[in-house]
């Protein structure tokens, strides 16, 4: 899959290769990400879609070098503009975080300092990374606040976070992420903490910014609606591996992996969701397909192993889809004839 990605237009801005992350849990370590592969081409929004506990937030923290103490990277590469972030020192990483990679987190009230005026917080990144003076930073902050649609920026500049509504706070967080004109935005559940009508506003803002600033975005979400609204490509994460990867229009409309299909049908509550039987015939092994337990198409081999990514034909390289499911395995006879 790396080879295919490389043939695309230019090097991806971010490329996660075979990433394994484990969590130390007495008495042993438990693998969470088991060889994650993901490319984010320049100017595209790629979503990592997964349910809670799938490890998607750990993937984001790995990129930023902010894994919690219990988690560690066992192997893999995280290439940002071709350079491995894992080989960088903490000092080098600091010049990247907030500067070349901007972050938008789920809960705006948790990512803002409650005791500092929001204008100053947005300006902090500019003063630190761009060495701007107080006045120059202030001017840029005001134009950023305007860019993200905060009404009356001059007045809001001096507000403390608690004086702002949830939606405005999230706009402040977005302004902070954009402040240094980063090469990549990492957005972890950017609208999950917001109410429906406010979520719609923030989605609209993000999609305008993505378009106008030609941003590259690593979007992490469990919400199919958010992914459908913002992403160009989507990678579906289940049990620490990407089970399906492709253009969002293809994957969401015509899912290839049974897990993606189940997610989609669950999302529309079609009532067809397969109810798992309480006892599986064979206990799935560690190498089993992560969806083997709940899959209605499950076969014997699914409980033993997961196939390598299978390429589904697409006319253009960017339309290519990958799926890790035996259902899409080419029939042995056809392969034999080809070779």
């Amino acid at each position: 899959m790396n080879d295919n990605a490389q043939k695309g237009p230019g090097t991806p801005i971010l490329s996660i290769r075979d990433l394994e992350v484990t969590i130390a849990e007495e008495p042993e370590t438990r693998p969470i990400l088991k060889g994650l592969q993901l490319d984010i081409p320049k100017g595209q929004t790629v979503a990592l879609l997964g349910e809670s506990g799938s490890g998607k937030t750990l993937a984001a923290y790995s990129v930023l070098g902010l894994l919690p103490a219990v988690a560690s990277i066992a192997k893999g590469e995280i290439l940002f503009q071709g350079k491995d972030l894992r080989r960088m020192s903490e000092g080098q990483l600091r010049t990247i975080r907030g500067n070349k990679i901007g972050m938008v987190y789920q809960e705006p009230s948790k990512s803002l300092n409650p005791l500092m005026a929001v204008g100053k917080q947005i300006g902090e990144t500019l003063r630190l990374h761009k060495n701007l003076g107080r006045r120059a930073a202030r001017e840029q902050v005001l134009s950023l606040m305007e860019l993200v649609g905060i009404p009356d920026p001059r007045r809001r500049y001096r507000n403390l976070p608690h004086q702002l509504s949830g939606g405005v706070k999230q706009r402040v967080v977005i302004a902070m992420a954009l402040a240094c004109r980063p090469e990549l935005i990492l957005a972890d559940e950017p609208t999950s903490a917001l109410d429906t009508t406010v979520q719609a506003q923030i989605i609209d803002l993000l999609s305008r910014l993505i378009h106008d600033l030609r941003m590259s975005v690593f979007l992490i979400s469990h919400d199919m609606g958010v992914v459908a609204a913002l992403a160009d490509r989507v990678a579906v994460l289940k049990g620490g591996i990407v089970v399906e990867d492709g253009p969002v229009k293809e994957v969401l409309k015509n899912p290839a992996h049974p897990y993606t299909a189940a997610l989609l049908s669950g999302a529309v509550h079609s009532a067809k969701t397969h109810v798992a039987t309480s006892v599986a015939q064979i206990e799935p092994t560690d190498a089993a397909c992560p969806f083997a337990r709940d899959c209605k198409w499950v076969t014997h081999i699914c409980r033993m192993q997961t196939p390598k990514p299978i390429l589904l034909a697409g006319t253009l390289p960017e339309q290519q889809r990958l799926v890790r499911c035996f259902l899409h395995m080419p029939k042995p006879t056809t392969t034999a004839k080809k070779s």
Partner: protein
């Protein structure tokens, strides 16, 4: 309005206000009254499912708690099964509670972590039904587990041994233990992953069908309500702004807020991504509610009377009630009603 029979649960113009201290520090700050529920009326017929939707903080959970009389209303009446229970207390209230139960959003925090499933169910049964013994109790518990789709081996296990979806099955079993006539499910699937959501909704549908229990579904997700409920009420900042049969409400919403709420739902179809409707502003704080119609600062149609005059509930169709000064037909706004009253009453 024709009377379709005796409702199982009904709120008649019920209000609830809390007092809150505004400001920092203990003992300081101003005392302010927060109107959590403002003259809300809702009725649930026996065996019927009613949905209650709205954004966080709109008072939907408070209204649910009032219906169960977990709270006492400051004004209005709460009826249950033909009796006014607004002022019921103590034993008399507990007796009624046997017939109404609640399923909470987060099963992890609503189950006793030290109780086995058996202990949880036994407690619910004995607390409300009096002591059952031996075989009778066992049979009852087994039937409950069977109903919610848990194996009998679950009995000796504790909540932490179950997944989120299974925990929610346990809390449903607990709610059903007393054979209630009325159940309130407060965001029953919000904390669950997608696959379990589907399963729990299926289970609740089965419960509804087989046990003929009346349901109030409190949710912020329109899809859930559309699927589960015959009737839906929409709440905004303490007031019910629209009530209608779900089929009507989702096809032809009349209140501008209901429309906005529906059009703000993100579609799962990437081709429809440009169709998002944007409502300006955010839900106001209940500490400083807008004058007149609470929705007027965000409403694209608001005019002077909306700022001054609280709209009263109006019946506009079969079981279709809307709290808006205007009549909407398609996207057209017709002549506002009752403009002459604006000068007489102001609020």
């Amino acid at each position: 309005m024709t009377d379709p029979g005796k409702p199982i649960s009904e709120a008649k113009e019920v209000s609830k206000s809390y007092s809150a201290r505004v400001g920092l520090g203990a003992g300081s700050g101003k005392q302010k009254s927060v109107q959590a529920v403002d003259r809300a009326s809702i009725r649930i017929e026996p065996g019927e499912s009613v949905g209650l939707v709205g954004e966080s903080g709109c008072g939907k959970s408070s209204l649910g708690r009032l219906l169960l009389r977990l709270e006492t209303p400051t004004d209005g009446q709460v009826w249950f099964d033909g009796e006014d229970i607004t002022r019921f207390k103590g034993r008399k209230l507990r007796k009624k509670r046997r017939q109404m139960q609640m399923i909470f959003q987060d099963p992890a925090s609503s189950l006793n972590p030290r109780f086995t499933v058996e202990a949880t169910l036994r407690e619910a049964i004995t607390a409300h039904k009096g002591k059952l013994h031996g075989r009778q109790l066992k049979a009852h518990i087994a039937a409950l587990l069977n109903m919610v789709g848990l194996p009998i081996t679950a009995l000796n296990r504790q909540p932490h041994e179950f997944s989120g979806g299974e925990k929610q099955r346990i809390s449903i079993a607990r709610a059903l233990a007393v054979e209630p006539k009325f159940l309130i499910a407060d965001e029953p699937v919000t904390s669950l992953d997608l696959a379990s959501q589907g399963q729990i909704l299926n289970l609740l549908e089965t419960v509804k069908r087989e046990l003929q229990v009346a349901f109030l579904f409190i949710a912020h997700d329109m899809d859930t309500v559309k699927r589960m409920c015959a009737k839906t009420a929409v709440m905004y900042l303490g007031r019910i702004v629209e009530t209608a049969p779900s089929e009507t409400l989702f096809r032809d919403p009349k209140h501008p807020y209901t429309r906005a709420l529906m059009l703000s739902q993100l579609s799962h179809n990437p081709d429809l991504r440009t169709d998002l409707y944007l409502l300006p502003g955010e839900p106001p704080s209940p500490l400083e509610p807008p004058t007149g119609c609470h929705f007027h600062p965000r409403c694209p149609y608001a005019d002077i009377q909306c700022k001054t005059l609280v709209p009263e509930p109006r019946q506009i169709g079969a079981s279709h009630i809307v709290r808006c000064h205007f009549n909407f037909d398609g996207n057209q706004k017709s002549e506002p009603q009752g403009i002459e009253n604006t000068l007489k009453i102001s609020s």
